[in-house]
């Protein structure tokens, strides 16, 4: 793989940054337009398109479009746009990594200080790195992992790539603020407004005032508000809970549009499915094993929250314990 090719695949690396600087390319209107397209595809499809650039000049433009996209987002300061874009860019990189040699994978991993070791045929990774970059998903829970001497055993090369994807996403979420960019960047940021989620929690008519829902649901709603990505079980649990509480479907869809990888069609399909099946809200014990319980309510099922007194509820939300 040529150096330039590497930079196109992984525009967030220091190598790519250096290549861009060396090329001397300016942030022209054309680049900003490409950047805008890049972000729009990310928001619409949940993934950034792979590059089909043939000539070196096009390749440099592709890398520059990434840099400009970061500027647009850095100027917009919008959490939803930034997080949604981070998900999409990290998926693109992860797709590339799937077909890459170990050497390239390690080169990208090195950007984030991810170092794995092979010992007796096992792929090992330091636990603090594992915790930082693994998805909060049942499959990756530390409890069910082999951990020794500070290293977690990975089950496959794919898991390693998934961790790198997590690192890229985290990196993308930390975007430097851009204060006074060229006019074209400002205009581009303005154009992204139509992609913002339709509704925020505070505008929802259905009563979900603080104190009305148990701490675990409160936390998920809070994550939504911050446009954080939720693992599968969390989405499912929240949906089943809200359906169970009688929240209108349209409002749940609007709420879910806060997710950085929101896709209206899929969301509607999944919600309709959950509603039709009439799934029961899981017991606290199940929620605990998913890593989503965050208080010791002692109520067996989250649906019993309403039966608790006001003082207990307040104490649980604040300290995680009943009074």
């Amino acid at each position: 793989m040529s150096q330039l090719e590497f930079c196109i695949h992984y525009p967030f690396t220091s190598v790519a940054k250096a290549a861009l600087e060396q090329s001397g390319i300016a942030i022209s209107d054309r680049i900003v337009e490409l950047a805008l397209q890049r972000i729009k595809t990310a928001l619409k499809e949940g993934k950034v398109a792979k590059s089909s650039a043939l000539h070196d000049s096009e390749k440099i433009e592709n890398i520059a479009s990434y840099a400009a996209a970061r500027m647009i987002l850095g100027f917009s300061r919008n959490r939803f746009l930034i997080n949604a874009y981070a998900v999409a860019e990290s998926k693109r990189a992860s797709d590339y990594l799937d077909g890459e040699s170990d050497e390239i994978i390690d080169k990208v991993a090195g950007e984030f200080n991810i170092k794995t070791e092979e010992k007796n045929g096992n792929l090992l990774i330091p636990v603090h790195i594992y915790l930082k970059y693994s998805p909060r998903d049942v499959h990756y829970r530390l409890s069910n992992r082999e951990l020794a001497n500070g290293y977690v055993k990975l089950k496959s090369r794919h898991e390693k790539i998934r961790l790198i994807e997590g690192a890229i996403k985290k990196h993308m979420e930390k975007i430097p603020l851009v204060k006074s960019p060229p006019e074209s960047i400002k205009i581009a940021a303005e154009k992204l407004k139509e992609f913002l989620p339709k509704i925020q929690r505070q505008e929802i008519s259905f009563s979900l005032a603080s104190g009305e829902v148990p701490p675990c649901i409160e936390k998920l709603l809070d994550s939504l508000k911050k446009h954080e990505n939720l693992p599968h079980q969390a989405r499912w649990y929240l949906a089943v809970y809200l359906i169970g509480r009688g929240m209108p479907m349209e409002e749940i869809v609007s709420l879910y549009s806060n997710l950085p990888d929101y896709n209206e069609k899929i969301t509607r399909y999944q919600l309709d499915h959950a509603k039709k099946k009439g799934y029961a809200v899981p017991a606290c014990a199940t929620i605990l094993t998913w890593g989503l319980c965050c208080a010791d309510c002692k109520i067996g099922s989250p649906l019993n929250w309403q039966k608790l007194g006001k003082a207990d509820r307040e104490s649980l939300l604040k300290t995680g314990r009943r009074i």
């Binding site: 082999e146 020794a148 001497n149 500070g150 605990l288 998913w290 890593g291 965050c294």
Partner: protein
């Protein structure tokens, strides 16, 4: 507690603070909280040196003083977003609830054993943290704190810390996943020489087989069967003697692995803004030192965490409730009855007063 009680207790605590040894890592990066009535009445305090901190304790002696497990560029700034966070120690809080005010003191040994297991089995062995980065501290009342200062864990966020606590408590751990059945129908499972949860599980099973075999199955009371089974387990073969439903029977072994005294509920480990009692400060509900422990195995809180000054001073107290017999500072006290008057060594008197079981006699 009335004003006289508080005045006498605070005077004594201040005397201790005059020469107490503190060892607060990066004191200038920590937020402090103090309490006179509640455990924390005021927070967002900061000190740029140990001298400044001590001076504060001597002039405004509080009943409780705690510092953040977090490090900030501007620890006194409010709101919290302005503090500029850059990391947290990894701190564990272990305690136990029990009936009555004094019941817990009989259980402190149990909590201590859990703290030792937390460090030896989990932090050192599984997490690979080095001993020099770990501090044992008595909480000053009903349990222990374990502070870890390893830079690898410094910038973990709350969810990531929760994964650590869940691992240690075994939340979400499904021991049945340890077992497989191979082609010849053998149950293949963990070996005692394996690391992590698997090895711990196999070792605990062998211990149970050796000490309380019938808990698993009555057939294990026969030496031959039991030993044959254990030999198999050592090699990872859990069906050398075939026992019906052996996997589900092993649940009681899995239950012994849980370190349930490690608190998750109150979130000391995962709440990044938590304040924790300053090591070597006084716990205002007991007058005991939240002592930094150098020899955990021989540590006895009701002896080693007792303030060791003004030993000859005694004061009269009057009990306001019944108190059971208790071992304290190498002697046995009580039981005491409500309204009983007693002249006791100052540090002992203060213990009962701060526990809310007595008041100083008037005229002192």
């Amino acid at each position: 507690m009335n004003d006289i009680d508080r005045r006498i207790a605070l005077k004594f605590i201040a005397e201790y603070y005059a020469s107490a040894e503190f060892n607060i890592f990066q004191i200038e990066k920590r937020e402090f909280g103090i309490g006179l009535i509640k455990k924390i009445d005021a927070r967002h305090l900061a000190f740029d040196s140990m001298e400044g901190f001590r001076k504060y304790l001597l002039t405004n002696t509080p009943l409780f003083v705690s510092h953040s497990t977090a490090y900030y560029e501007f620890p006194a700034a409010t709101p919290i977003e302005k503090k500029s966070w850059f990391g947290n120690d990894l701190v564990f809080d272990l305690d136990m609830h029990s009936d009555g005010k004094y019941g817990v003191y009989h259980k402190l040994e149990e909590v201590k054993q859990d703290a030792i297991r937390l460090v030896e089995e989990f932090l050192l062995t599984d997490f690979g943290i080095s001993k020099k980065d770990i501090l044992y501290v008595f909480s000053g009342n009903r349990g222990y704190h374990v502070h870890v200062r390893d830079k690898n864990y410094l910038d973990l966020c709350s969810d990531e810390r929760k994964e650590i606590v869940d691992y240690i408590r075994g939340t979400g751990l499904n021991y049945e996943n340890f077992f497989d059945i191979n082609e010849s129908g053998r149950i293949i499972g963990p070996r005692p020489d394996e690391k992590g949860h698997r090895g711990r599980f196999a070792r605990a099973a062998i211990t149970m087989l050796e000490k309380e075999p019938v808990k698993l199955s009555r057939v294990f009371s026969k030496d031959e069967i039991r030993n044959n089974f254990i030999t198999g387990v050592r090699e990872g073969n859990w069906s050398r003697t075939s026992i019906k439903d052996i996997i589900s029977r092993l649940k009681i072994v899995a239950d012994t692995l849980l370190l349930s005294t490690v608190n998750t509920d109150a979130g000391v480990t995962q709440d990044l803004s938590k304040l924790i009692r300053v090591p070597n400060s006084i716990h205002g509900e007991t007058g005991l030192i939240a002592k930094i422990i150098s020899d955990i195995n021989n540590f006895d809180p009701l002896k080693d965490a007792v303030i060791n000054i003004n030993k000859n001073e005694a004061k009269c107290i009057i009990f306001t409730e019944d108190v059971p017999e208790i071992e304290f500072a190498n002697s046995t006290f009580g039981p005491f009855k409500k309204d009983e008057k007693k002249e006791l060594q100052l540090v002992v008197a203060i213990f009962f007063v701060l526990k809310g079981s007595a008041s100083f006699c008037s005229g002192q």
